[in-house]
């Protein structure tokens, strides 16, 4: 009798582990290609998601509802995916200009003080759609996808092909892909239609290291060419920096990244995913990203997922907050500046029925630029001890807050 009980308990533990591997979202989110392979053959689903994104200081705000539709047509016909999104974008973005005044005056205008950088208001909408199709052929899962996105001043079109190749008796997967994008930039300031090309390739391998561990290593390379300037950014020239030139960048960019992911699931409905990413490009930007995501199932129907992400990058070789004289390439775009950021987040998922689950998540990100300036030094008639000290500032300084709510239905 006792032997039978032990067998039953072991069988139950095995069942629970299998269920955990199948259900925990870090797998569904894709630890390498196994995720995609496992996903094929699962039920069809519809995911809806609404993201609210808010940068501090009246900067960019985005409301982004999206629908993900996945239709499993069976082994013979494969699987079809469709993603449709619509973003409403508003707010302001730093122009690259130098803060040279204590405050500014404008008609009911946005505040610009000595420690805040000149910003330009903008408002846009973005429609995006992506269609994918994949079907298993023996050990291979080739997929093709096309996407289209349209903004007021930007049109993006891309084609992607990829393959997941299961090897080592199912304990490893080689995944490789290529993507080709042909975009058009149409700045509202000059009404030109400027081409931008992106060709990317990726290669990776996923290992199953026993029952509880997965490791995925992948590398990617992307070559951009064409119009890569930001037509809405300016670059301060000279002192005090009130004169400006348009942002101008090289017309090619080679981007490379290596990503290492490690996943481990613990007994007791818990799982951990650690991701490290190294990035560099020929604009001299190097970046490191470390992310840790932890899943903890609570009771029967709740899943709590805290996450932490640390990021750091160096600046582009032609970046500067202000230039003494014109150069061939120059930009004051804070996104090309040296900066660090830390993000913390929490997502709670509730299984409502066997086919329906809801999730609510939020993240808070703190970003700080390392290229710091003191816009108007406060020194002069009084000695340094008495003079009020101006704080340093960077256009990259900001906090970002997001809320995501979603509903998933399987059928």
């Amino acid at each position: 009798m006792a032997v039978t009980d032990r067998k039953a308990r072991r069988a139950e533990r095995r069942r629970r582990r299998r269920r955990l591997w199948r259900d925990l979202p870090w797998i569904a989110a894709g630890v390498g290609s196994l995720a995609a392979r496992n996903a094929l053959g699962q039920d069809s689903s519809v995911d809806t998601r609404v993201l609210f994104y808010q940068e501090s200081g009246g900067r960019t705000q985005v409301l982004d509802p999206m629908v993900f539709f996945k239709r499993d047509l069976g082994e013979k016909w494969g699987q079809l995916g469709l993603v449709v999104g619509y973003d409403a974008i508003s707010g302001a973005s730093p122009t690259g200009g130098y803060p040279t005044s204590d405050v500014t005056t404008s008609a009911s205008g946005r505040l610009v003080s000595a420690n805040t950088f000149p910003q330009a208001d903008y408002r846009d909408t973005r429609f995006s759609a992506a269609l994918s199709y994949g079907r298993k052929f023996g050990a291979h899962l080739p997929t093709v996808d096309v996407s289209y996105a349209k903004e007021n001043d930007y049109t993006a079109r891309s084609l992607g092909i990829s393959d997941e190749w299961t090897v080592a008796h199912g304990l490893g997967t080689i995944h490789l892909g290529a993507s080709f994008a042909r975009d058009i930039v149409s700045p509202v300031t000059n009404h030109l239609h400027l081409p931008k090309t992106q060709n990317g390739f990726s290669l990776g391998y996923t290992w199953v290291l026993g029952e509880r561990d997965l490791v995925d290593v992948s590398g990617s390379w992307m070559q951009l060419s064409g119009y890569l300037d930001d037509p809405y950014k300016v670059v301060p020239i000279g002192d005090p920096g009130t004169d400006t030139l348009p942002d101008h960048r090289p017309d090619s960019r080679s981007r490379r990244a290596i990503v290492i992911k490690y996943g481990h699931h613990y007994v007791g409905d818990r799982a951990l995913k650690v991701t490290y990413r190294y990035y560099n490009d020929d604009w001299s930007i190097q970046a490191h990203t470390l992310e840790v995501v932890y899943d903890q199932r609570l009771f029967t129907n709740w899943l709590v997922t805290p996450q932490i992400r640390l990021y750091t990058q160096t600046g582009a070789s032609f970046y500067g907050s202000r230039f003494s004289s014109p150069r061939t390439f120059l930009s004051s775009d804070y996104r090309l500046s040296p900066l660090d950021s830390a993000l913390g987040g929490l997502t709670v998922t509730r299984k409502l029925t066997d086919t329906l689950s809801a999730n609510l998540g939020g993240t808070y990100q703190y970003q700080r630029g390392r290229d710091r300036i003191i816009p108007i030094p406060r020194s002069g008639r009084v000695n340094d001890d008495e003079a009020p000290r101006a704080s340093s500032a960077s256009a990259a300084d900001m906090t970002v807050f997001t809320i995501t709510a979603g509903l998933t239905m399987r059928f």
Partner: protein, 305 residues
Amino acid sequence: MGGGALVQFVDDRGRGEAERIARSVESEARRIEVKFSRYRERSVVSEINRNAGRTPVAVDDETAMLVRSALDLTRLTGGRFDPTVGALRRVWDFRSGRVPSDEEISAHLPLVNAGAVSTRDRTVFLRRPGMEIDLGGVGKEYAVDRAAELLKAEGIHAAIVTFAGDVRTIGHRGDGRPWKVGVADPRNPGRFPFSIRVIGDAGIATSGDYERSFVKNGVRYHHILDATTGWPARGVASATVVAATAFRAGCYSTAALLLGEEAGRELLEETPDVEGVLITDRGAILATTGMRFLSDLPGSAWESS
């Protein structure tokens, strides 16, 4: 009030005291916003509007002063500015970008009439039903001045206050140098082609055709409406005025924008203790004579500093 707010001051009584003063300034600004916003049901402005054509509304001295000041501005602009222009907001929607027809504007123009505003015996009465008074044209600058007065009452001698683009200064920057206020380029958002330098008590305000506006078929339509026609004022893209208070600066910047390039500049030039700069919709910068001592425009005292 819309837009951002910033209060900076120099004080040596410690952080706690500075935060207390900053909070009191903030609550004073909120008090004014709550009291005079036409978007708030319980504001005195909403009460006056609800009782248009029905009964006079008893008001306090502060409200009476603001209404009288708005009516003074009407006289200053020959009727182009009118605090009862609120009725026209029913046909002008600057978010949707719809241009109203002549008939729609004509139908609402009779409700725009500062002469039908009665301010007797500490009451305000809009004599015609459907009239709407809007003190937004002067209320924001008044709030800036109130914040500055409060700082002075707290013993602050060096401060700068700005609410949504209107500025008031007290003393100097804390190091003896003048405050530097960048002036927005009306056609290049985020750019500030020149700046104004002031020391002491001064108010700076800007009126422009680029906020709450839209462009349709190459024509810009904006929220500063000429009350005599019902259509947006033409010719001046931005008017920036320096005066003793933000309130006075705001009145004259609005007046100059409504009067247009020539009459607007003449008004600023001839009014004592008022200086200003107009940026026309052709991009020309027209400054009063005194601005050479107050700005870093070419040929001015602060050029290249």
